[in-house]
């Protein structure tokens, strides 16, 4: 007992204990976790997906937040659809290769649902997408993220503003809830809405235009997949009207030419209503908007594909 008292009266030990207490307090102030996976657990799991689906949704953050696999699965004849979208992603050869690896070996029916945004068609050498960064994650970090997700999340960086938001939610100027779902969709609910991304993307497109090389790579893979019997559906990902204007005026994207090439490569093009759904930041869809869009997309795919028939949700599972 005397020895214990001696240990705790040591200034170093007392300071470390105080720091631990402060960490526990600070960590517990983090805003409550919404349902779904922990963010790092989600990313570390997703980057290692292989042999796990017969339908794959691809694209950048707009696909990531904008398309719910569950809603597609309810109406289309696929057993497991995964959302393989990544933040700041572009259609690199590496990404398209990885997409192929998601398919179950020997699946009767396979499909790629390619969400297109002009940003996902820009070529980036120095600014890597989230996909590339995650691909380089060490095995040890992946292991920790997947198996100790709660602990990793507890120690994730957090500003004092986040802590205040956890302590007094009513004082927070914005509320963003992200649900990292196991099927790959990130459902985001944000209030109030903004148009912040429009200005940022205008700047991005001024520096970096849609790349013919990326488009050619996509067409190469569409041709290849079609020759392997994989259905390929392409569609522009909906956003807000202001972003559509920016993309049409500044990005260098020629949609008509792209669609013509896509069809020539064997893909099925789906025309969607680009400005019908609620956006959170001028680019990405609100969770409710994403659900509505996913249902509409499933219906449009059904219309476009004669051989795809609706089945009961129970059968899909």
């Amino acid at each position: 007992m005397k020895k214990l008292k001696q240990i705790f009266s040591d200034r170093t030990v007392a300071t470390v204990l105080l720091a631990i207490v402060l960490m526990v307090v600070m960590g517990s102030l983090r805003p409550d976790k919404v349902p779904g996976l922990y963010p790092k657990e989600y990313w570390a799991t997703k980057i290692h997906w292989k042999n796990c689906a017969d339908g794959v949704i691809t694209g950048d953050s707009r696909a990531l937040m904008g398309v719910s696999p569950e809603e597609l699965q309810k109406n289309l004849l696929y057993r497991q659809i995964r959302n393989y979208g990544f933040g700041a992603n572009w259609y690199s050869r590496q990404y398209l290769e990885a997409t192929e690896a998601l398919f179950w070996e020997g699946a009767d029916k396979r499909a790629v649902f390619m969400g297109i945004s002009p940003h996902s068609l820009t070529h980036r050498e120095t600014v890597q997408g989230h996909f590339i960064e995650l691909s380089r994650q060490s095995k040890q970090d992946s292991f920790l993220d997947i198996h100790f997700g709660a602990m990793v999340n507890f120690f994730e960086p957090m500003s004092f503003r986040d802590a205040m938001q956890g302590l007094l939610p009513s004082l927070a100027p914005t509320h963003t809830l992200k649900n990292y779902r196991p099927d790959g969709w990130v459902a985001v609910h944000k209030q109030p809405l903004s148009l912040d991304e429009v200005k940022r993307y205008r700047k991005i497109f001024e520096d970096r235009q849609v790349s013919d090389e990326v488009i050619n790579t996509i067409m190469e893979y569409v041709t290849k997949w079609r020759s392997q019997g994989i259905d390929v559906y392409g569609f522009i990902l909906p956003t807000c009207p202001q972003m559509v204007d920016v993309e049409q005026q500044v990005s260098g994207f020629n949609q008509d030419a792209f669609v013509a090439d896509f069809k020539r490569a064997g893909g099925t093009w789906i025309d969607v209503d680009l400005c019908k759904y609620e956006c959170i930041d001028g680019s990405h869809l609100q969770d409710t908007g994403a659900l509505q869009f996913s249902q509409d997309l499933a219906a449009l795919i059904l219309e476009a594909a004669d051989d795809v028939k609706p089945v009961n949700v129970g059968e899909n599972k």
Binding site: D10, R11, T15, M23, R124, V127, P157
Partner: protein, 473 residues
């Protein structure tokens, strides 16, 4: 294994839990230190443990041979230096040499292209090679007696806190310490905690936050034409590299104290230096003194006339530049500092400026800004990029301060203000003020709370992790 990783924290917890049991007997202590250090280094790539062992065995046996055959100790020293410089040259400078050779072939119109070797650069090779060389050179100079215990030698060479990024500890300083089994007292524990907490804060909060801005600027596909932006980026880089490297050293020194060992101070607030000579007495002191003692003095130092002393200084500095990296920009960086030092020796300008009212502020600011300009070479990926950045920095007609607002994260600016504030604290001598050195109960409690808050900030306000810059050297 990086200090700023969860794996290292687990490693350190296990190491220090067993350390009190292992430190009592010499052999047990040394074997434990070697084992732990090899795990620490091998975590990155176990194959390169053979390189440390190879380099170490050469110097260990060279040391013994010099003691046994003193008449031939020059030969043993040469063999040891060839072994060390050979491995450094192979892994670090081979491709640089080949690239320059190919360039010369191209220049003279010869149709020869030697393929690059593309060898992996072992982490910290320059540090442990220099540390190992100091052992044999000190024995050669009769300043050190060789150790006969191979574990004692490898405990010195591979001691994990300072193995990969210094400070470079001389054998004559560390070998005797490794023989001691003294338990660590509360004061040393407290000093160790202070160093570790501040070291982590400098690295994960300051350096990593600033790194995001700097990496974006140097990695941008197109040059951003704004003098204001590039001055801001370079000032941020100046503090990034300082906090990154001195943060590592602080953590290393703190861990050393917890083990009962003292490593030399490596940085003494270099940006408050009022002359370039002063700067080099405050920046990476263990390397500067290594070069001074083993190269500058060996060349004759300043004892062979003024001109020769300039030549010796330039030679030493250029080798130091090359030590940092096998690339022309590092040599450019060293040449710039050599020029500043030569100019200072000839004109003695700091002495004249310091006599003026406010002269100290002018001198300090001048040294800081010129050092910042020199850092352009250190950070640039090529000479071409370095000159482009310098041209933009000095093109004041395109100052474009608005770009700073658009491209530089507010968080990075806050961190920059914080670190500049901390430097001013030392500049105005507040660290020596009565309230600062007071030992009353309130001050002791206040310091403890500050350290606890700093640890908290390291955990929750850390920026995305980056490798320590000096690992590449």
């Amino acid at each position: 294994m990086q200090f700023n990783s969860l794996v290292f924290i687990l490693f350190a917890i296990i190491f220090f839990s067993i350390w009190p049991l292992m430190r009592r007997r010499n052999n047990t202590r040394w074997i434990y230190l070697v084992f732990a250090s090899f795990v620490f280094y091998g975590w990155w790539d176990w194959r390169f443990l053979f390189l440390i062992m190879g380099s170490g065995f050469i110097d260990y046996f060279a040391g013994l041979a010099m003691a046994k055959f003193p008449a031939k100790k020059r030969l043993w020293l040469i063999l040891s230096i060839i072994g060390n410089i050979g491995s450094l040259g192979l892994f670090k400078y081979l491709d640089f040499g080949l690239a320059n050779l190919n360039w010369i072939f191209q220049l003279v119109g010869a149709d020869i292209q030697i393929p690059m070797a593309h060898l992996i650069l072992p982490v910290g090779i320059s540090f442990y090679t220099f540390q190992s060389m100091s052992y044999t050179i000190d024995i050669y100079r009769d300043e050190l007696k060789p150790t006969h215990n191979v574990f004692h030698f490898f405990a010195y060479l591979s001691l994990f806190p300072q193995l990969v990024a210094g400070p470079i500890v001389r054998a004559r300083d560390l070998l005797p310490q490794l023989e001691s089994a003294e338990p660590v007292g509360p004061q040393k524990r407290w000093e160790g905690l202070n160093l570790i907490a501040f070291g982590f804060f400098k690295k994960v909060v300051v350096a990593d936050t600033l790194a995001a801005v700097v990496n974006m600027a140097f990695g941008a596909p197109a040059m951003i034409h704004s003098a204001a932006y590039w001055w801001m980026v370079m000032i941020m880089f100046a503090f990034q590299i300082y906090c990154d490297f001195s943060g590592y050293t602080d953590i290393a020194r703190g861990l050393g104290k917890w083990m009962g060992y003292e490593f030399p101070v490596n940085f003494r607030n270099p940006y408050i230096a009022s002359s370039f000579r002063d700067f080099w007495e405050r920046w990476h002191i263990s390397l500067s003194t290594w070069f001074r003692d083993y190269i500058y003095f060996s060349l004759g130092g300043s004892k062979k006339g003024k001109l020769r002393s300039h030549v010796n200084m330039w030679t030493t500095m250029l080798i130091s530049g090359l030590w940092h990296g096998a690339a022309w920009p590092f040599i450019g960086w060293a040449a710039m500092h050599s020029f500043f030092l030569s100019f200072e020796r000839i004109t003695n300008w700091p002495k004249h400026v310091l006599k003026l009212p406010g002269g100290r502020h002018v001198a300090t600011l001048t040294v800081f800004l010129l050092t910042t300009v020199a850092w352009v070479f250190f950070r640039a990926q090529s000479m071409h990029q370095a000159f482009a950045v310098l041209a933009t920095m000095f093109n004041f007609s395109a100052f474009n301060a608005g770009v700073v607002h658009d491209l530089v994260d507010n968080n990075a600016i806050n961190v920059l203000i914080l670190i500049i504030g901390s430097q001013l604290f030392f500049y105005f001598g507040s660290d020596k003020a009565d309230w600062s050195v007071s030992r009353n109960r309130f001050k002791i409690a206040f310091d403890s709370v500050c350290i606890a808050v700093i640890i908290l900030m390291c955990v929750f306000m850390r920026a995305p992790s980056n490798t320590f810059i000096y690992f590449q050297f």
